[in-house]
């Protein structure tokens, strides 16, 4: 089972009021793969994601899903194909897990239509996939951060979309929960062929889990492609303004970025970095 939906941004310019965040950006999301968007704070990652799921109308350019402009598509029709989990969704006071996950069925239901067996099955499958079945009757506000994030992902899964966009799904989670969430998304991608686009803060996790890495630098794409070609020392310097070493991750063989910083580097590394920066800006 693979999806062939194409999601493409063309000459996309996005702005909040007077402030332009993204300018003339072109991006093609590879179908059936996992794409991670990385970049410094305020580089426009979340804004790009919001626009691709039509939450923000473009100032110029367009976002095309299977060749159709997403901002012109009927809302529910789009929501049956493309799902988005925003950075901080709100759980109504006291709502139970299964109720919240059930809200993901919204685009599949009419105004007065009743719940179908299919809806219940989608909720059950989403709960099971995220190991939240045993939490189903608990109130969401009682859960730990990691559990809560799994519940929100379950809600997005219940939506049963072929494309799933996630804005920093691992923020506020400890390392084991981060891996758990990313493994789950990889399962989803491999088993169902779901196309995944996620904004991630952690470069190394992004390089590990993404098939396609997009590095944003103040509203433009600095580099995009296989993590092995994108995540380089030059890229880290350009995008984050940080000196680093990139080595092969002994676990996965993907690139692993080690920041250098001003302290703790061994003498030879420090000397080398100092030499490089003096060569760049001679007095």
């Amino acid at each position: 089972m693979t999806t062939t939906h194409t999601l493409v941004a063309e000459e996309l310019t996005l702005a909040y009021g007077e402030r332009t965040v993204i300018e003339g950006l072109d991006l093609a999301v590879p179908a059936g793969r996992i794409t991670a968007i990385v970049g410094a704070n305020a580089s426009g990652k979340s804004t790009l994601l919001r626009s691709m799921s039509r939450l923000l109308a473009p100032r110029a350019g367009r976002v095309l899903l299977d060749g159709r402009a997403v901002h012109r598509m009927p809302a529910k029709e789009l929501a049956r194909t493309l799902g988005l989990l925003p950075q901080s969704p709100i759980a109504p006071e006291g709502i139970t897990v299964s109720d919240l996950v059930g809200r993901g069925r919204h685009p599949h239901q009419g105004v007065f239509s009743r719940w179908s067996r299919e809806d219940d099955a989608a909720v059950a499958a989403a709960l099971e996939a995220t190991s939240t079945t045993e939490l189903a009757e608990r109130a969401v506000d009682e859960l730990s951060g990691g559990q809560r994030q799994r519940v929100w992902i379950a809600m997005a899964l219940a939506q049963q979309t072929d494309l799933l966009l996630l804005d920093e799904p691992t923020t506020f989670l400890d390392v084991s929960h981060q891996i758990e969430v990313l493994d789950l998304l990889t399962d989803l991608n491999r088993v169902r062929g779901t196309t995944i686009v996620m904004v991630l803060h952690d470069l190394n996790l992004a390089a590990r889990y993404a098939d396609h890495l997009v590095a944003l630098e103040s509203g433009r794409i600095h580099a995009a492609g296989e993590p092995g070609t994108v995540l380089t020392e030059d890229c880290v310097r350009a995008v984050f303004g940080l000196e680093s070493r990139v080595i092969a991750d002994p676990i996965s063989g993907k690139p692993l970025m080690l920041p250098i910083g001003r302290h703790h580097a061994t003498a030879p590394v420090a000397a080398e970095v100092r030499g490089a920066s003096e060569a760049l800006s001679p007095r």
């Binding site: 969704p89 809200r103 499958a125």
Partner: protein
């Protein structure tokens, strides 16, 4: 977390079971509230200076001539009781719509100045232009809609954020209240009495001509709001999540605001802004129903029950007769204070 295959039947049944249990809890609450509303309505018709047994009341309602009762029940108590129910349902429904939509219990129409708009217009009409009856009501309806539009426009900036709308609404409400005070200070004795009705809300002297517009508005606008039940429920997850789930956020908001403001406006035109009913109905309904689904219908019923009971208390429980709005005001004010204290403690999140 690897299983992504079709879930076993037992798992699906368990989801179904949880869902039906939530729905049946909510249905039970609705039935109990509806029964209580009917009982309170019946008491309103029977009790007064003269007591009429249920049999007499029923005969009057079915159109038979009953000496004494036909006038007292048919002309005085029936319109009063019907207006209590209609206004209560309207205020409750409108209040909970605003509170759900803006995710804040402070966001009810009587807190954010919409009721004040209706009152101010009515008082101005009565005192400065010597209007009465339908003219005053029409003016009140128009003003409520106008104030709502003004608040919406002032709060609009890349969509409407809840907190901004509430703060602007409270400010506009305060300005309108000072208009009311100023106009009242210049009112003659007779006008003052008439204008006072518009400040606290009263069911005294209700006739069928005052009930009818409010009843029609309820019959038209309540279905519109109930049609938005699912969109409003999804909107509770935040604007972005709701939009990602296929809700047209701004459109839903505009429909809900227009329908809710219409309900408040027509009900206020009929009996004044019965204090705090739209503010209290939602939270009370939430307490009873719990997190088991939409609050629209339960809150409407709570609103009706509040108005009926408060009117009975105002008329018969105390030595002096008080208009219904005074009684609900006494109930509502402490809750408002409690809510503000709680908001402060929780650092503003509700």
């Amino acid at each position: 977390m690897t299983a992504l295959a079709a879930p076993p039947d037992a798992a699906v049944d368990s989801v179904l079971h949880q869902r039906t249990r939530r729905a049946s809890r909510r249905r039970l609450v609705i039935v109990v509230l509806a029964v209580l509303v009917v009982v309170a309505f019946a008491v309103t018709l029977m009790v007064g200076r003269t007591f009429y047994p249920p049999g007499d009341v029923l005969r009057v309602i079915t159109g038979e001539k009953v000496p004494g009762a036909s006038f007292t029940v048919g002309r005085l108590r029936l319109p009063r009781g019907v207006l209590a129910v209609v206004a209560g349902l309207s205020f409750g429904l409108a209040g909970v719509t605003f509170q759900t939509m803006l995710r804040n219990p402070l966001a009810s129409p009587d807190v954010i100045g919409i009721s004040s708009g209706a009152s101010a217009a009515a008082v101005v009409g009565i005192v400065l232009f010597s209007l009465d009856g339908t003219a005053v009501s029409s003016l009140a309806v128009a003003a409520a809609l106008g104030v709502a539009l003004l608040i919406y426009v002032l709060a609009f900036k890349d969509g409407v954020a809840g907190t901004r709308l509430i703060l602007i609404g409270i400010g506009v409400g305060a300005m309108l209240n000072s208009v009311i005070q100023y106009v009242l200070s210049r009112a003659g004795q007779w006008d003052y009495q008439e204008a006072l009705r518009w400040l606290t809300g009263s069911l005294n002297g209700t006739s069928w001509t005052t009930v009818l517009p409010a009843l029609l508005a309820l019959l038209v606008l309540a279905p519109v709001l109930l049609g938005q039940t699912r969109n409003l429920a999804t909107l509770q997850l935040g604007d972005d999540t709701a939009a990602a789930l296929g809700v047209r956020v701004e459109r839903t908001r505009v429909i809900a605001i227009i329908a809710a403001v219409g309900l408040v406006a027509f009900a206020t035109a009929a009996c004044g802004p019965i204090a705090f009913v739209s503010f209290l109905a939602g939270p009370i309904a939430a307490r009873i129903v719990g997190p088991n689904g939409s609050l629209l219908v339960p809150a409407a019923l709570v609103g009706a029950l509040l108005v009926l009971v408060a009117d009975l208390v105002g008329q018969f429980a105390l030595d002096t007769r008080f208009p219904v709005g005074v009684v609900t005001g006494v109930l509502g004010a402490p809750y408002l204070i409690y809510l503000i204290i709680r908001t402060n403690r929780a650092g503003g999140s509700l």
